[in-house]
């Protein structure tokens, strides 16, 4: 049972040591972005990797959270924390509302439906310029809690780290619980899960909502951390980027989600030296990954070195 959390301890050590190794603010910023992405990708992996469903519009939920945190305090004077919760509730409700009809679909159709959902959110954000600033985006007031403004990168680093640790811990627990086994079971065989009593629709809806809430919360965090939001947060390209992180890191692997998020957040920076060829290099690396490690980095390496998965 201790083994189950081994990876979590490793992550904790890395998080604790990292600030002392980081040479400057640029890398601290990068680390925070990695952490934010890691939480979103983890939430998405619960849906895609564990439950076997796809969401091609996940950036839409990030957009909802981000713009809730920007619009509600700016235009309506809401407290940022209330705005963050409101964003999460909105994203969760929207997910729950569309999930029932959407999860009647499978495969390509499910992909199309979720893709459409993400695009609709993006269009709304672009067109409601009166509130959202349209394609130009808008500034976000700083996050305050109990009268303190959280404005330094150091603060955000620790906040994101704590969120990440809790998410990883909760995800490991969840996937090794009756709830998680039901989800993985319906991925393995929907009819088998059904005949042992799993209400398949309810479980798909639950994990979709949960994953949307994860995305919305981290959208809010992104908004306050960066201090600025634009609709590109919610665009299709961003959704695809997140799915790529899931796939490269490893489907149905908690730590694969982290590795995927960290690598693919860092990679564009590392490739910046290729000047103009970075997208090509990025593409080549992804293709090579998929050819030689179709199961994703972490599951492949775990199998190669004889470890048990996770």
């Amino acid at each position: 049972m201790i083994r189950r959390y081994l990876g979590l301890y490793v992550v904790a050590v890395i998080i604790a040591v990292l600030p002392f190794l980081i040479p400057n603010g640029f890398y601290l910023d990068l680390a925070i972005r990695m952490g934010i992405n890691a939480v979103i990708v983890l939430g998405l992996n619960l849906l895609i990797g564990f439950a076997g469903q796809i969401s091609m519009g996940h950036a839409g939920f990030i957009g909802i959270g981000a713009f809730a945190s920007a619009v509600l305090p700016t235009h309506f004077g809401w407290h940022p924390f209330v705005a963050l919760v409101a964003g999460a509730v909105l994203a969760g409700s929207l997910a729950a509302l569309v999930a029932r009809p959407i999860f009647r679909l499978k495969g390509h159709y499910l992909a199309m439906a979720t893709l459409g959902l993400g695009i609709i959110v993006n269009i709304v954000l672009r067109n409601e310029a009166k509130y959202t600033g349209g394609p130009d985006g808008m500034p976000v007031p700083p996050f305050t809690l109990f009268g303190f403004a959280i404005d330094s990168d150091k603060h955000w680093y620790w906040i994101v780290s704590v969120i990440l640790m809790v998410s990883v811990w909760a995800s490991i627990n969840l996937m090794n619980s009756p709830f998680g086994r039901a989800l993985r079971g319906l991925h393995g065989s929907e009819v088998a899960a059904q005949v042992v009593g799993v209400n398949v629709t309810r479980y798909k809806v639950a994990i979709f909502v949960m994953s949307a809430v994860f995305a919305s919360l981290m959208g809010s965090v992104t908004a306050h951390y960066v201090g600025f939001v634009s609709p590109s947060l919610a665009d299709f390209g961003h959704s695809i980027e997140l799915i790529t992180m899931v796939v490269v890191g490893g489907m149905a692997s908690v730590f694969g989600s982290l590795v995927g998020a960290v690598l693919l957040t860092a990679l564009p920076q590392a490739l910046a030296t290729f000047e103009g060829w970075e997208t090509v290099a990025f593409g080549v690396i992804l293709i090579l990954c998929m050819i030689f490690m179709p199961k994703g980095l972490v599951p492949t390496l775990a199998a190669r070195f004889g470890g048990r998965r996770e």
Binding site: P178, A182, S189, A193, G197, V198
Partner: protein
């Protein structure tokens, strides 16, 4: 009262009459077999009773109450479990986890408690693992307690399906061709296993092509052909019935 009553049940797929006007009832504690040539409608009958298909006509009653329109998961809650002719194993999970999924309805499925691993839930989960391993031993899978499902041979997976169904603690267990694709030795083992399950108080409904096994185990037998009930009765009644001999030998 009969545990299961099927009354004038019919199912039509775009004009194909897969099951026509079939009636029978299963008393508690028996082993009841459904036999018939390929395409006779046996699996369709199972799919109707376990809620995977909705009947076109007729009624199905469990303990006297109609279960028409209930989903498979709702039938599971009534104590109806089944296995599949074409394996339905979750290959993304351990063998033991497959069995644990079977106990789904007996567990606390709360998402929040699970995420924060409440002690009571964690304790129950450890006890469940033990229970699942005992079930695997019961069906003869003691060598696969720590195996991944995708590394197990076909015969073992067939038993794993039975263990998963038993984890539901069913009152009524439907076994769809448990001996299909097994060698004579394995078939004999399954024969013994079905007897053991019945002796533990579970009512078993069996679809099977292996006549030796059917004749050895069954208290009553339903013979189907072309979607219709041909004969129903005890094994001796069925064995010597001219229509059965005709259907099987084509005479």
């Amino acid at each position: 009262m009969s545990l299961l009553s099927v009354i004038s049940l019919s199912k039509t797929f775009d004009g194909v009459k897969a099951v026509q006007n079939v009636s029978f009832s299963v008393e508690p504690g028996v082993i009841y077999s459904v036999i018939g040539p390929n395409g006779a409608g046996k699996t369709t009958l199972f799919n109707l009773i376990t809620g995977i298909y909705t009947p076109s006509q007729g009624d199905i009653r469990v303990d006297g109450a109609s279960v028409i329109g209930k989903l498979p998961n709702e039938l599971a809650a009534l104590g109806v479990a089944r296995t599949f002719q074409n394996l339905q194993i979750c290959m993304n999970m351990d063998a033991c986890e497959n069995v644990m999924v079977g106990a789904h309805l007996r567990l606390d499925r709360n998402l929040f408690k699970a995420a924060f691993r409440f002690p009571a839930l964690a304790r129950r989960d450890r006890a469940l693992k033990q229970e699942a391993e005992d079930l695997m031993r019961f069906v003869g899978l003691e060598n696969y307690l720590t195996s991944r499902a995708d590394s197990m041979p076909y015969g073992a997976l067939k038993r794993l399906e039975i263990a998963r169904a038993l984890a539901l603690k069913p009152r009524l267990l439907f076994l769809d061709e448990p001996a299909a694709g097994l060698n004579p030795r394995e078939t004999l083992d399954v024969d013994g296993l079905v007897r053991k399950i019945a002796d533990s108080g579970v009512t078993v409904v069996l679809v099977e092509h292996n006549m030796k096994m059917v004749m050895n185990l069954s208290d009553r037998i339903l013979v189907m052909d072309y979607g219709k009930k041909l004969v129903e009765g005890t094994r001796d009644e069925v064995r010597h019935h001219p229509d059965v001999i005709a259907a099987y030998l084509g005479a």
